[in-house]
Symmetry: C2
Subunit: 285 residues, 2 copies
């Protein structure tokens, strides 16, 4: 599945013209620069679990990854998290420059909405996909999460605020990935609800796992410095509940995700999604 | 028309919640911070000229203005044009901070694609609008133009390159504004072509006029410093052809725009669009 995602991402990038070469190089550098491809994988696996051939939703899957990639480029900027490395390579603004990185992010964000239109579903369903993606990634979703995360640096925040930051910053796009797979397959409301609970649960578990890896992870495997959250005095689960408490929470959430898909009468073949939920708890990068 | 645009822009902003207040304040600051509203006006006037009531395309008009506003916020950033003032007020990153300005831009860009979905036309036509907007504002359009503009600073460039920068940086979105009005009204191909020529012509004239005003304009009326292009050694029409030459070019282009709409057999009521073309040549800010 990973291979088909990589090929599709490449195919949806604009042609490299002489005049816009630098912009496209910067977009390509980050978009094809590795990464787990979790979001497009979730979208494709959900679509398939709901009976839709994955080649019909590849554009939507790539659109989600473009949004994710742009957000990383902008989050790494000096004015934001000021990171020099990402996925074991220089961050976009270090490899190019700040102006180029800002523009490459803007262009990837825009390209996501151009690409999603190519999803092979009917017109009304395509509109649902655009809505899902825009709502998840904008001022009530991912961008709000990044804003809240920045504002929370060095401050005391409540448990509720910590959950809200995670739900928006990482959770919203993971949730949308699963939901877009389901929406494309035009599943019934009950199945969409179950998949949404699944997505929200693994989304939060994924973020807690990220925080845990920032404390315990291997720099080489992660491709970025560990201890960054601590240095920025970021609110994290391990800082609040200890490593053991955070790990317990990951297990609970994973079980919740699995349970949601084991409800009777859902119109999906849940096994691969359940496997994925367990697999994510074991990741080391 | 301006009044209805201002009200609509406000109505499409997300509700102000306590947690995301700063992000929304920054978005609102720039989106409702004045401006000529040329792009939404063009879209609405075109739709009306093609027989469509403007209230049905207000979401599309606001979406275009959101894209325009985000591009100004990002262009003003220190890493880009490094401007302190815009429309007589502090630029977004000066009023808030760089991180907030980057995120407010991202959020407005995303909100544009959420808002455009509310346009009251059929599903397939809405998809055409999303495509038009994304193509015009992305890596083959506006963002590419900004990249080229930055790369051209202090360099000798050809006439063709100067035209390409203008066509992409400013022209693409003005062109899309007119075309979206026409697409929403489902005009025939001939009318769409004529309106596209009209849009491309006034778009280039508008940019040349901008360059002229950067030399001759009144700081108070413009709400920003003049001479900025010169200071940045930017390629401009006045720098290349002198003020008189640049003014002649504005007249020629305006005439070309008007002529395109005076072709027989077009399915539109062209008079207000023609008036607007002439009006734009007389603007002083």
């Amino acid at each position: 599945m990973r291979d088909v995602i990589e090929k599709s991402l490449l195919s949806f990038l604009p042609e490299r013209s002489l005049s816009a070469a630098r912009l496209l190089d910067a977009m390509t550098y980050s978009l094809l620069g590795g990464g787990k491809r979790l979001r497009p994988t979730l979208l494709l696996m959900t679509a398939r679990a709901c009976g839709l051939p994955i080649d019909r939703v590849l554009p939507a899957a790539c659109a989600v990854e473009m949004i994710h990639t742009y957000s990383l480029i902008h989050d790494d900027l000096p004015a934001m998290d000021n990171d020099d490395y990402r996925r074991g390579k220089l961050t976009n603004h270090k490899q190019f420059d700040e102006a180029t990185a800002i523009l490459a992010g803007d262009a990837l964000l825009t390209l996501a909405f151009e690409t999603i239109l190519l999803t092979e579903v009917d017109a009304q369903t395509r509109l649902f996909l655009v809505r899902e993606l825009s709502q998840a990634s904008g001022a009530r979703g991912m961008v709000a999460g990044q804003m809240l995360d920045l504002l929370a640096e060095g401050k005391r925040i409540t448990d509720e605020q910590l959950v809200e930051i995670h739900a928006k910053k990482t959770g919203a796009l993971l949730r949308a990935s699963v939901r877009m797979g389901a929406l494309a397959a035009e599943v019934n409301q009950e199945t969409l609800c179950a998949l949404t609970i699944y997505a929200e649960s693994i989304g939060l578990a994924f973020q807690i796992q990220d925080d845990i890896l920032d404390v315990t992870g291997d720099v080489l495997l992660l491709g970025k410095q560990t201890g960054a959250d601590l240095a920025l005095q970021k609110a994290t689960y391990p800082a609040r509940y200890g490593l053991a408490g955070a790990r317990d929470r990951v297990k609970e959430l994973t079980q919740r995700a699995v349970n949601a898909l084991q409800e009777p009468n859902l119109s999906l073949e849940a096994s691969t999604l359940i496997d994925l939920a367990y697999l994510l708890t074991e990741r080391v990068f």
